[in-house]
């Protein structure tokens, strides 16, 4: 990797912590971003000559803070601070100026920054967009591309969202344990949404947007590094890793969906699976089950099966049962029905999903699953109706195309010999 490449990577990885600390200093998002931007420019100037500092994040925070203070002073015509040339990590000059920042300092800063993005009045997609802009540092152009909207529209959305969160006044004091746990829950949910936005895109032609998944994983890992004893954060990290591991096998060359049962498991990313399984193991030791851990445990069972036929559906059914207790939802029941049908047959599955019809009347997967059960039971006409409904509700072209394959098969079977 070239030197500039290394610096770029270091700046990207330092960003969440550095901006979070600067937000604490300035209590202002724009000012913190500007200060970080300036610190990055100086890093690009100084690091190739002086070499990288031992603590790049600490360096960026300090230089960013000095720049902003200097800026303020110059505006108020008072004396400037010493030039940042003087701040050389090698001479440990900043040791007197700034406390060595370790993860206990960063922890609440990063959590606060992510939490600020999760303003309850903002729709979920705007929370995600804001986090990508502020925490990850993606450009508006990149975010606009990920959400398939114009750059101008995204710019406007982010500006509006920023104004809204600035007015929210999230307290800057160190949160108490209950408040911290609440923030962690809200932030975890937002990061999982970000992951899902990439994993099964909610609109457009592209069914998978891997960069969003990768960014979600980066942020979730960061959260886990900072909150290393939280089993739900372990579970969430494992869940993202185990699902993302399947990405290379999920779509064919034409972008059509390949179902789990038909995926070439040789394409699954074994490194991500190994790490995901290790994290599930770690989380289970705490014996404090939560929704992310249970979902990760389900993903782990899929990952452990060398062939689809080897899948432990009994255990998966039990885990969905547990998930239903922890987080009752018709979608979870739908998933449990799929597992039950694998063990007890399509009739049992169909019976389980009948009461869900009202609640899931607008849900693509409900009709996909219903159609599949009916098809397996030989009730072709009813299956066709369900599949038609599924197509009408499909979120992406790949989803619609996948259901059409079922319909084609039904048509062929119903044709007189």
């Amino acid at each position: 990797m070239t030197e500039i490449g290394w610096i770029d990577a270091a700046l990207t990885s330092a960003r969440p912590q550095a901006v979070a600390a600067l937000v604490r200093y300035f209590r202002d998002l724009d000012q913190a971003e500007e200060a970080f931007q300036e610190a990055c420019l100086r890093a690009l100037k100084h690091w190739p000559i002086n070499g990288p500092p031992r603590d790049p994040t600490g360096w960026l925070i300090l230089v960013g803070r000095n720049y902003a203070l200097d800026h303020l002073r110059r505006r108020s015509k008072s004396d400037p601070l010493p030039d940042d040339e003087a701040i050389s990590d090698r001479e440990d000059a900043e040791r007197d100026l700034v406390e060595r920042l370790d993860s206990s300092h960063y922890r609440d800063d990063v959590l606060r920054l992510l939490f600020i993005c999760c303003h309850p009045d903002l729709p979920a997609t705007q929370q995600i967009a804001l986090a990508l802009r502020i925490v990850s540092g993606l450009s508006v152009k990149e975010i606009a591309r990920a959400f398939l909207v114009s750059e101008a529209a995204m710019e406007q959305r982010i500006t509006r969202a920023k104004r809204q969160v600035a007015a929210a006044n999230v307290p800057y004091e160190t949160p108490g344990p209950i408040e911290r746990a609440e923030r962690l829950g809200v932030v975890a949910a937002m990061l999982y949404l970000l992951f899902n936005e990439g994993y099964s895109a909610s609109g457009g032609t592209e069914h998978v947007r891997a960069p969003l998944c990768e960014e979600a994983i980066r942020l979730v890992r960061l959260l886990l590094r900072l909150f290393s004893a939280e089993p739900e954060i372990m579970g969430l990290t494992a869940l993202c890793l185990l699902q993302h591991a399947r990405t290379p096998a999920r779509l064919d060359a034409d972008g059509a969906i390949i179902l789990l049962e038909d995926q070439d498991r040789g394409l699954w990313n074994r490194d991500l699976i190994a790490e995901g399984l290790a994290l599930v193991d770690k989380a289970l030791r705490h014996r404090r089950p939560g929704p992310y851990q249970v979902q990760a445990a389900i993903a782990a069972l899929h990952a452990r099966a060398d062939r689809f036929e080897d899948t432990d559906w009994v255990e998966i059914g039990l885990l969905y049962g547990l998930l239903e207790q922890l987080q009752p939802s018709p979608v979870v029941t739908l998933n449990r029905a799929v597992a039950v049908a694998k063990v007890k047959g399509p009739a049992a599955g169909l019976e389980m999903i009948q009461p869900l019809g009202n609640k899931l009347a607008g849900y693509f997967h409900f009709f996909g699953v219903k159609g599949a059960f009916l098809m397996q039971l030989g009730r072709s006409e009813e299956a066709r109706v369900a599949f038609d409904q599924a197509i009408a509700l499909a979120n992406t072209a790949a989803e619609a195309a996948h259901i059409r394959l079922h319909l084609d098969r039904l048509m062929k079977d119903s044709r007189p010999a």
Binding site: M1, S13, R218, R225, E275, A278, L279, R285
Partner: protein, 129 residues
């Protein structure tokens, strides 16, 4: 003399490499490893999972304290390591505690191995052959 070369880097930077960048680095390292193997000088090579997968056993108390996350103190020094095969985290933590009973004090960090090349050097002593 056998030497251990311990690898330190910023895991957030390495973790941010693309699959291609990571593979390129691993391929370059493999060239060096192969050369060492040809010379019969290569012992085990391990790439560890990120520190988020680590569990720490503090064996300076009884019973030992098991904590999530990596070993983070700077007052103690790395003095050695084991590579053991275990079916589960519970099993390897039990092993670590058994070792801890034999040698109390200090800390073990238990970290899953992502990749292992067992090498080809049969040298098991501490003297140069």
């Amino acid at each position: 003399m056998l030497y251990a070369i311990l690898c330190y880097h910023d895991e957030t930077v390495v973790g941010a490499w693309t699959k291609e960048e990571d593979a390129a680095v691993m391929a370059k390292l493999a060239v060096v490893q192969e050369k060492l193997a040809k010379e019969g000088r290569l012992g085990p090579v391990a790439r560890l999972m990120p520190t988020t997968a680590a569990t720490t056993v503090r064996k300076d108390r009884e019973p030992p304290l098991i904590l999530d996350g990596p070993f983070a103190e700077t007052k103690e020094q790395l003095l050695g390591f084991y590579i053991v095969d275990s079916a589960s985290l519970d099993e390897v933590l039990e092993t670590a505690q058994e070792l801890g009973r034999a040698n109390p004090g200090g800390t073990y960090e238990v970290r899953p191995v992502l990749y292992l090349n067992s090498g080809n050097s049969g040298n098991s002593g501490n003297a140069a052959t």
